[in-house]
Amino acid sequence: MIFGLEFPPIENLVEWPNFAGDSWYGFNKIALTYLIATAATAIFFLVAASGKSLVPKGVQNLAESSVKFIEDGIVMETIGPDGIRYIPYLASLFFFILISNLFEVVPGWQMPANARMGGPAFLALLTWAFFIIVGIKHQGPLKYFKGALFPPGVPKALYILVTPIEFISTFLVRPFSLAVRLFANMLAGHILLVTFAVLCATLWALNGLVLALPFSFFMLVALTGFEIMVSFLQAYIFTILAAVYLGGAMHPEH
């Protein structure tokens, strides 16, 4: 306690009690957030798909621009035209992560569901399985692993060094870094917002230090805006890295 300012224990920031049910299969706020994100993504695209006008308006226009953004900005830049069949997966991934991240700044809710490792770990494992299966399907298992672990153009003696590095970097570090990047960004943003919010509340309650309140409040507002940008950016980076890994699995290095 410094000047009467106390920070809540970290469990209060990230652990949520179950609404009903026992420990690990109980339903809590994080699960509810993921449910809402899934439902919102599904309803958004279903409603947009039911509008069949050639010149899109309203929700259909929004959904078509989003798919165009994924197609031009993510798939065309990294995979090329053969990647168009993966746009459904990448678009769903992008919107699911975006909506579950945006709950960090919704007043009253204020918990990004990806601040717990469960969601990011699952999405990373799913993407990892996906790009391995795509590689095996496109190039055959032997050729895919041979091309990934023994990249062509390397002098034969150096394979002793290069192959373990390639194995660790392609099959171990990729899913781990995908999960940790999303998780740690969201957790760090959440802790920052909680710090400044608790600071504002405490400074308001303690009349002696209230002169510092505008600065703390300004930081809280600025960080909320920053966290909106980070939510979008992390969804974009997860999706574009998934696209890069898919492209790497489909097109072997020559």
């Binding site: 830049e77 940790v180 990047r181 998780f183 740690a184 960004n185 974009y236 980076i237 574009i240």
Partner: protein, 91 residues
């Protein structure tokens, strides 16, 4: 560093306290050191990509995409340092 260790031993008494104090010290050092490299790396990367976009504005879209990819990779290292911080301080 030894002054910190002495101060820590003067105040913390039980083994749990010493562990918590050492964990907090290690956590601070861990994240502080982990933030240096990616800070320099991302600054250099964005500077080079701004230069590239200024030299050839038609390639700006491609440069921007590659810039985001590069930022994601270097930032992952800083974030792994943050995870180490959380593990040392709160676990």
């Amino acid at each position: 560093m030894s002054a910190l260790v002495l101060a820590q031993e003067a105040v913390a008494q039980t083994p749990d306290d010493i562990k918590a104090a050492a964990g907090a010290q290690g956590a601070g050092m861990a994240y502080g050191l982990a933030a240096i490299g990616p800070g320099i790396g991302i600054g250099y990367l964005v500077g080079q990509s701004v230069q590239a976009m200024a030299r050839q504005p038609e390639a700006a879209g491609m440069v921007r995409t590659t810039m985001f990819l590069g930022i994601a990779f270097t930032e992952a290292l800083a974030l792994i340092g943050f995870v180490v911080f959380i593990l040392l301080k709160f676990v």
